[in-house]
């Protein structure tokens, strides 16, 4: 993973001291709340329902064991013994004291972490495939390019006062595990398909204008192939076009998706290309040597050769876990391990300090010191020898981290909702808990098959309800919680927006409605069909009939 050089370290350390001074001045009354708020937000510090909340950046979801131990340590010393992994592969602490926030940032800096770009109108934490560097289907490890983008967008003046937040994702496979087209800007690493001009060269398919929130849009492809070395020029062009035209007068129309929609795909592309040609002449793109320096940090670990692929499956519980929670690795004899943070009745994405320490130890011992956070609010040990899987499973079982539900109905994304978030209109977590309890039986979950349930507590859609097979949106109806049900969304390579089924429900009602939708799927499905496949084949009306009677 990336290692700070002297410049990275100096910048992060300076940022910590700058924020320490800003905090001191705020507490002394020399800064008003209005003056201080944008400063704390630039350091990931929000004021939420119960306390300050600190969101810590985990670039492209990659952590080492020292960082995970530090996150555990911070949760014990400065918070209440747990953390919450988010849908941008970050972690949040919910009970932070302002006076201690600079100390936390200083602690994070000791393990090359920070909270920069986790809030405000900036380029947010760059997300990526959680299986990067391990996936059997990737062209290259996408993280070096994600890191290049992180570096060129951090503290870049033109990117520091954007019209709104700006989210970027990077993948390098056909299978989309990062909700690519729900991002403001996204790249899929490909090989140049043009046989007459650089066939085989690494480059990017570029997408722009996606996003969830109040107005969901799926990003359109704005370039079939961008030579990789030109990404800085191209990204500057995209952001400059947005900066030029964005509706800064209307908060609901500031995101780039609105501009792409209003200008139209063709005109947006034309203007980007025009700016791009200008930027190319400036010679600002990342030199090959700098890319090589960064890429060297992501060199594959020294995988052993000659390892057996066979796994002793005599323990049925272990076999069940292997089948559901592990994924094919690019290296023979290795597996990718998914750690569920979705225990039945638990809080999606929450993890205790003790569990963080155990995961960190497992990463150090069995996964070349690497852990990944996923946008689905789970964790991954990316490089585990198959012969070590049983030991890993036993340790996870002892830690309460061996739930078997990856991509099943209880693997629910849920934002913090009204239990924690000052923007929320309704609670998300209790709904997730009740759905999980309703479908707790693993046999039933497996019979239902892949089913992605995602819950947001407000229109901002942090719970990705637009990209859910079954989505739930919490709204405020005259001071009481109400839940709209949506069907048919996807954040995968078959991206689609979910559609609202009809009138909303109370908390108990929406759980019943989810069950009725699932039962309708089980009645109508054809062999091999997932919930989403059946929905797409038969349409919304059949499900509405089941849901509303």
């Amino acid at each position: 993973m990336y290692k700070y050089d002297q410049y990275d370290r100096a910048m992060v350390d300076a940022r910590v001291e700058e924020f320490r001074d800003q905090t001191r001045r705020r507490i002394a009354g020399h800064l008003t709340d209005d003056q201080f708020k944008p400063l704390r937000l630039k350091n990931g510090l929000y004021l939420q329902l119960h306390a300050y909340m600190l969101r810590v950046a985990i670039p492209y979801g990659t952590l080492n064991s020292a960082q995970m131990h530090k996150l555990a340590d911070i949760s014990r010393r400065y918070d209440r013994g747990y953390g919450h992994f988010t849908t941008r592969q970050n972690i949040q602490y919910n009970w932070i004291k302002l006076e201690e926030a600079p100390d936390i940032l200083a602690e994070l800096a000791t393990v090359e972490m920070h909270a920069i770009q986790t809030s405000g109108e900036s380029v947010r934490n760059v997300s990526a495939d959680q299986y990067a560097g391990a996936a059997a289907d990737e062209i290259i490890d996408p993280r070096p390019w994600a890191e290049v983008i992180r570096q060129i967008t951090t503290f870049m003046p033109e990117f520091s006062y954007l019209p709104r937040k700006f989210k970027i994702a990077v993948i390098a496979s056909v299978e989309d595990r990062a909700a690519l087209r729900w991002h403001d800007f996204a790249i899929r690493i490909v090989r140049n398909p043009n046989p007459e001009n650089g066939a085989g060269e690494i480059g990017f398919e570029c997408y722009a204008g996606g996003g969830m929130g109040r107005t969901p849009f799926i990003a359109c492809k704005i370039r079939d192939f961008l030579p990789a070395g030109q990404i800085f020029s191209y990204l500057q062009a995209v952001l400059r076009v947005w900066n030029r035209h964005a509706r800064r007068d209307n908060i609901h129309k500031q995101r780039m998706k609105i501009l792409v929609h209003d200008l139209g795909e063709e005109e947006f592309r034309r203007q980007v290309e025009e700016e791009f040609q200008h930027f190319l002449t400036l010679g600002q793109d990342v030199p090959q040597a700098e890319y090589d320096r960064i890429a060297a940090c992501f060199a594959p670990p020294p995988f052993e050769t000659g390892l057996a692929d066979e796994i002793d499956r005599s323990d049925p519980d272990f076999a069940l876990w292997v089948d559901r929670q592990t994924v094919t690795h690019k290296a023979p004899g290795y597996a990718i391990v998914n750690i569920s943070l979705k225990p039945i009745g638990g809080i999606p994405g929450d993890i205790s300090a003790e569990q963080m320490d155990i995961v960190a130890d497992l990463a150090a011992k069995y996964s070349f010191d690497e852990v990944r956070a996923t946008h689905v609010q789970n964790l991954v040990l990316p490089h585990v020898r198959k012969q070590d899987l049983h030991a890993v499973w036993q340790a996870l079982t002892g830690a309460g981290l061996a739930d078997v539900n990856l991509d099943l109905v209880t693997d629910i994304i849920a934002c913090p909702g009204l239990d924690y978030c000052s923007l929320a209109n309704a609670r998300s977590i209790p709904v997730a808990q009740k759905i999980a309890e309703r479908f707790a039986d693993i046999g039933k979950q497996q019979d239902i098959g892949e089913l992605k349930v995602k819950i947001s507590g407000c229109i901002n859609a942090c719970g990705h309800h637009h990209a859910a097979h079954i989505g739930i949106l919490g709204v405020d109806r005259k001071g009481t919680e109400n839940y709209q049900l949506l069907l048919g969304g996807s954040g995968a390579e078959d991206t689609s927006p979910a559609r609202i089924t009809g009138p909303g429900f109370d908390e108990a009602g929406v759980v019943d409605a989810v069950e009725r939708a699932i039962e309708r799927y089980r009645e109508l499905r054809e062999p091999g069909e997932r919930f989403l496949d059946t929905y797409r084949r038969v349409g919304l009306d059949s499900f509405k009939e089941a849901i509303y009677g």
Binding site: R26, I27, G29, D33, L47, L49, H50, A51, Y52, R80, N94, W95, I96, K97, L98, E99, I347, L418, D419, Y420, S422, A424, R427, I429, P430, Q433, G479, T480, E481
Partner: protein, 99 residues
């Protein structure tokens, strides 16, 4: 009635105006009436509260003050999904007050 709430500047804890200062307990809240804006301006300027605002509330049959909106009741109580982290972790019925 109008009661006042906000967060403690240093700790971020939820606080309620009790007539002379800020309490952690909504039970201590008093009706700020027409003085709400003045109190908030004074307390904010003195950094004794952060993000203060007035909320509608009413006294229940038991005399306990209950904010009108669920968001403020959750602020007063704590996260409903973690009763161990609320102000009343030993009271299994406390969460019912929120809903």
């Amino acid at each position: 009635m109008k009661i006042l709430t906000g967060n403690d500047l240093k700790t971020g804890k939820v606080v309620w105006w009790d007539g002379s200062g800020w309490s952690l307990h909504v039970e201590d809240a008093v009706d700020a009436g027409e003085h709400a804006d003045v109190i908030l301006a004074t307390e904010t300027a003195a950094c004794r509260v952060n993000g203060g605002y007035a909320v509608d509330a009413a006294a229940g049959a038991d005399g306990r003050i209950r904010p009108a909106h669920i968001k403020d009741r959750i602020r007063a109580y704590g996260p409903t999904v973690r009763p161990d982290l609320t102000l009343k972790p030993a009271d299994p019925e406390a969460g019912n007050w929120v809903i």
